[in-house]
Amino acid sequence: MHVGIIFFLIILGSVLFHIFTPWYWTDIASNWQGMDDTITLTFWIGGGVFVAVCLFMIYCLFRYSYKEGRKVEYKPEDKKLEKILTWATTLGIAALLAPGLIIWNQYVNVPKNALEVDVMAWQWGWQYRLPGEDGKLGTTKVTNINDENPFGINIDDPYGRDDILVQSDYINLENNKPVKILLRSIDVLHNWYVPQFRSKMDAVPGIVTFYWFEPNKIGEYEVLCAEYCGVGHYAMRGGVEVQSTEDYSKWLSEQETFQDLIAKKEKLEFESKKLAKNSNLNLNRNIYTEE
């Protein structure tokens, strides 16, 4: 008897925990409301099945616990019941799968007007690159990366010259404007993940991966690395600030382009050559050795 009661309390506790939990998802800040809705739907259907199965089990415990000489049913199978259960389950599964696939279809089809953002990851940090006036990002190559060219942009690619470089773990995005995140890693797997945006994708060295979202809530969010990438994994954080259009364009205009960087480096080199005569100033600080 008490066994059934304890199991019943566990099920009841689980349901109550789910209803009153203080630990639930963060407020959504992107267009992926559909994901949350599908989760809620799955909770209803799945949770319903869980409770039903467990309650039926508990009922059996109360009703059919051992009694000498109890008459037990001998019926190896019940075709009709099995058929009903199979079809009901199939239907339930289909009801869950359909919205999942519809949303995935949106997830892999990026809107044409999305802003491409190149996210470059390494052990253990991030930096970002935005297209310049031509609206296109230049091609890159890992072996190009050096002090003068921290993003490894192919110098002879005309699209790359005006690219806007953000050499920081933090980036700003424009509210209500779809963003296509292009992920690139120069060493191991990483994953640019903002819980409030609900979306994520691994950055894989050797290829470029992508996903998209549309931020729709102004505010600052933390970026987490969600794919294990070595001992610094847990500390690999960054940030996103979603801004209104005015704030965003102000921020954007303050960023330097690849062209600026080259010009600055050339100027610096020229001066350092002069300086070098007096001192051996070492400017070869390599950003990738910082952790």
Partner: protein, 112 residues
């Protein structure tokens, strides 16, 4: 166990002719697939010929040298059905390989 083997032995063994036939056929087919390279066929023709000769050779070896042709269907089916998993793996990896190549060419070479 022993008995069943003896039974098998007393059962018919195959005529030597069939082995020699298959043996010869394998040489001929290998020669043909070598000719595919010799004449430097290219494109679909090359691939389909290579695959055709390959499967024919593999089939002959399995069917006659490995006696699968004479085995009961229970064994044959147990051996062949798992290959669907491999076929699925191959098909998906073809798609994956193409996708990787596209990603590399597009983002590292072509751009735009």
């Amino acid at each position: 166990m022993e008995d069943s083997n003896k039974k098998e032995q007393s059962g018919s063994t195959h005529k030597i002719g069939i082995y020699l036939w298959i043996w010869g056929l394998l040489f001929v087919l290998s020669f043909f697939s070598y000719l595919v390279d010799w004449y430097q066929f290219q494109g679909m023709l090359r691939w389909s010929l290579i695959l055709f000769f390959m499967f024919l050779k593999a089939g002959l070896i399995m069917a006659f040298f490995m006696h699968l042709y004479w085995e009961r269907y229970a064994l044959v089916n147990v051996l062949l059905w798992p290959m669907t998993a491999i076929v699925c793996f191959i098909c998906l990896m073809i798609a994956e390989g193409k996708y990787t190549l596209f990603s590399r060419l597009f983002y590292f070479f072509v751009g735009g």
